[in-house]
Structures are given as structure tokens and as C-alpha cells.
């Protein structure tokens, strides 16, 4: 008897069959937001790291302030601030756009810091050798420095990117129809925990491969460097 109560609360077959399409749709939303965040966040981070290597002091100071702020503030604070704050000054963004914007800015900050550490770790002799062969500053950066720098940044960048894509779950707080949001609304609508179980399975199905991929990248690149 006890056994069937457990099944009915957490794994009810009728609920699984009825709501599987909803959870699958929510998975697509999670994937969509996550991919957009990865693309814009990494692009922003790389762009800022390149700008920083030109070493204009006032611009670099601004970059450092941005990076530090977005590394120190909890993403949920930023999500609520942008989502509830902007409409008051006449800017209305859909909740999905708010989530994408905030997470891109957060990933951009962390990525800039990692790319910049990568650029710094390339020895000065590489700059000098490249410049002495007649390459310009931009060419040196693009063809000599960045290819080496980016290789070094792969493991930390992968881990950080995975951590930030998991923050798509914060969208549930402002009503983005991603996995957690759909699972919790269905759970409270039905008074049954089965949708929560389905949501958990959806997250594990999405992110366990990503975590394993990150682990693989880490060992592969660590081995190459040794």
C-alpha cells in the first residue's frame, strides 16, 4: 500500500503521459535560452578581453568595474532588478529577453576575466616575435596570441559556462516557461509531485551529458599542456 502511494505521488503514469509534451516543450525553451546565452556571453567576453588588450586606461577601468560587479552580484538579484525595474522607466521586455540579457551579461563578465587571464599568460616573447616579423598589433593578437590564449582558457571557461547555463532555471521566478517553471506550475495545479520528478529527469538528461563533456574537455586539455 505504502509503495503505491509513493508511485502515485512521484511517478503517476497517467500524469507522465499527459504532461510529457509540456515538459519537452519546456526543455526546448531551456535549450534555446541556454544556447543564446552561451553565444552572446562568450562573444561579449572575448570582445571585451580584446578591447582590454589595447590598454586604454579609462576604458579598461570601466571594463574592470563591469566585470567585478557582475561577478559579485547574485544573478537572481539582477533578474529581479531588470524584470521589475525597467517597466517603471518605460522599457518593457518579455521575461525570456530579461533572462537572456542578464545571463549574457553575467557570462560576459566571467568570460572576459578568463580570456584576459589567458591573454596575459602568453609570454611576452610571443608578442615581440610576432611584431618583429612585421605583423600589426591586431594581426599579432588575432593570429598569434588569441589561438594560444583560448586553448588555455577552455577548461575554466567550460565549467563557468555550464554553471551559468544552469541559471536558466532562474527564469521560473519571472515566468519564463522553461523546465522548472512548467514543472512547478503543473505540480501545484495537480497537487501531485510527478511533474517535479519529470522536471528533475529533464534537467539530468540535459545537463549530465554537458557535465561529462566538460570533464572530458578538462582532462584532454590538461594532458595536452603537460
Amino acid at each position: 500500500m505504502q509503495h503505491s502511494i509513493f508511485i502515485d505521488s512521484f511517478f503517476k503514469p497517467e500524469i507522465i503521459a499527459r504532461y510529457a509534451p509540456d515538459i519537452l516543450r519546456a526543455m526546448l525553451v531551456t535549450i534555446e535560452v541556454a544556447l543564446l546565452v552561451v553565444v552572446t556571453g562568450l562573444a561579449l567576453g572575448l570582445l571585451l578581453a580584446v578591447v582590454r588588450s589595447f590598454r586604454f586606461t579609462p576604458i579598461n577601468a570601466l571594463i574592470v568595474v563591469y566585470v567585478d560587479m557582475f561577478r559579485a552580484l547574485p544573478p537572481l538579484v539582477l533578474v529581479l532588478l531588470v524584470y521589475f525595474g525597467l517597466p517603471n522607466v518605460g522599457i518593457n521586455l518579455p521575461s525570456g529577453a530579461v533572462l537572456w540579457l542578464v545571463l549574457s551579461l553575467v557570462l560576459g563578465a566571467f568570460a572576459e576575466e578568463i580570456f584576459w587571464a589567458g591573454i596575459l599568460s602568453v609570454r611576452k616573447g610571443q608578442w615581440e616575435a610576432a611584431r618583429s616579423t612585421g605583423l600589426g598589433f591586431g594581426q599579432t593578437l588575432a593570429y598569434v596570441i588569441l589561438p594560444q590564449a583560448i586553448r588555455l582558457t577552455v577548461p575554466p571557461l567550460t565549467n563557468r559556462t555550464i554553471a551559468i547555463t544552469k541559471n536558466t532555471a532562474l527564469g521560473s521566478v519571472i515566468g519564463v516557461p522553461e523546465i522548472l517553471n512548467v514543472a512547478t506550475t503543473t505540480e501545484s495545479f495537480l497537487g501531485n509531485a510527478t511533474p517535479l520528478t519529470m522536471g528533475a529527469i529533464a534537467y539530468v538528461a540535459l545537463f549530465v551529458p554537458v557535465v561529462l563533456f566538460g570533464r572530458w574537455l578538462e582532462t584532454r586539455f590538461a594532458w595536452r599542456r603537460a
Binding site: 561577478r71 559579485a72 547574485p74 537572481l76 576575466e113 532555471a169 523546465i179 520528478t197 528533475a200 549530465v208
Partner: protein
């Protein structure tokens, strides 16, 4: 510009929200004081479990680490808080937060300790054991002190992440700083209380973020 100032940097509203937000800060600090030592200890146990001779234990622990690294912390928290009541257990918001953080943080801190332990050469273990130290003594007096020093930037940076993550407790209505600030926001229809909370997070965490940044750059060279 005026609208931005009244809606985000309204000093009058900030002043009236300050006592509530500070009470929230108190709860945030209480949560930190409980979950950071819990996570540090749990992580250490996880890392040591990865070194036992029994392969079954290592496989199970590795699977658990990957599982808890794959599940977003907010998902874990909500599933504990909303799911356990269906199994007849009704944890308070505070207990749910502690449990979710213990599971999540042990996995993350565990991975950091593991990297640290792996950075210490086999010779250190052998030398320690050959002087007559037991395995536990070798771990605690010889290997771990060096391992922790090697991964100190990562431990500090993960602790910053943990402090930031405590804001998730607002979702299960634990009255920590973000919850209090958001309550003030919904009462005043004004975002300034959240800006106030953001400023307090910055004051707390900015120095640590700077420190981590310097430690990381020093290690990179």
C-alpha cells in the same frame, strides 16, 4: 534620467526599506554561517571518499557528484521544498535551504579538494606513511595542508558563489536579504530596495572578488 533616479536610486524609499533589508542581511549571514562550513566539510568527505580502495564507493560518489553538479541549485531547492511534503516530510524553508546547499556544495567543494589532492605527488603519501603515520594522519597532516594551499583561489571563489546562491532562498520564502528587498519592492512599486540590497552584496563580495582575481592571476604566472 529623473525617472531612473526615482525608480532605482530613490533615497527616501531606500531609507525606509533599510531596517527590513538589514534584518534580511542578518538572515543571509546566518545562512552563510551554517551552509559554508557544512559544504566545506561535506566536500572534504566526498574528496576523501574518492580515494578509498573500494571501487564501488568511488563509482557511486563520482556519480553523485556529477548528478548534483548537473542539477541547477534552484531546481534542487524547489524539489526538496515542494517534493518532500509528498513523501510525508515537511521541512521548514531554512532546513530545505541547508539540505539543498549541503548536497550542491559538497559536490562542488569535493571536486576542488579532489583537484588539490591530485596535485600532490604520490611521494608525499609514501614518505608520510614510511615515517610511521597512518593513512588518516598522512592525509590530515601532510597531504591536505598542501592540497588546500594549491586550490585556495578556487575554494575562495566557490565560497563567493555560495554566498551569492543564498539569494535563491528567497524563492522558498526564507526572509533573507533578497526576499526582504523584493517585499519592499512590491510594497513601494519601486526597484530602489533591490538596488539597496545589490549595493550591500557588492560591499560584502567586491573585496573578495578582487582578491580572487589577484590570486588567480598570480597562479597563472
Amino acid at each position: 534620467m529623473d525617472a531612473v533616479i526615482t525608480q532605482f536610486f530613490n533615497v527616501t524609499i531606500m531609507a525606509s526599506a533599510l531596517p527590513l533589508v538589514l534584518r534580511g542581511l542578518g538572515m543571509t549571514l546566518v545562512v552563510c554561517v551554517v551552509v559554508i562550513p557544512l559544504g566545506l566539510t561535506g566536500g572534504l568527505l566526498v574528496a576523501l571518499a574518492m580515494r578509498v580502495r573500494l571501487a564501488v564507493v568511488r563509482v557511486v560518489v563520482a556519480a553523485l557528484i556529477d548528478f548534483f553538479r548537473a542539477v541547477p541549485p534552484l531546481v534542487l531547492l524547489i524539489f526538496i521544498h515542494a517534493g518532500l511534503p509528498f513523501a510525508g516530510i515537511r521541512p521548514t524553508a531554512f532546513v530545505s535551504v541547508c539540505l539543498a546547499f549541503l548536497l550542491n556544495n559538497s559536490a562542488y567543494y569535493g571536486e576542488i579538494y579532489r583537484a588539490g589532492i591530485e596535485s600532490i605527488g604520490r611521494g608525499q603519501w609514501d614518505a608520510a606513511r614510511s615515517t610511521g603515520l597512518s593513512a588518516a594522519q598522512a592525509a590530515f597532516y601532510v597531504v591536505l595542508p598542501q592540497a588546500v594551499r594549491n586550490v585556495l583561489p578556487d575554494l575562495v571563489s566557490n565560497t563567493v558563489e555560495v554566498v551569492k546562491l543564498t539569494s535563491l532562498a528567497s524563492v522558498v520564502a526564507l526572509p533573507e536579504m533578497l526576499y526582504s528587498a523584493d517585499m519592499a519592492r512590491s510594497l513601494t512599486y519601486n526597484a530602489s530596495p533591490i538596488v539597496l540590497a545589490a549595493c550591500i552584496y557588492l560591499v560584502l563580495l567586491w573585496p573578495v572578488v578582487r582578491l580572487v582575481s589577484r590570486m588567480e592571476h598570480r597562479v597563472a604566472h
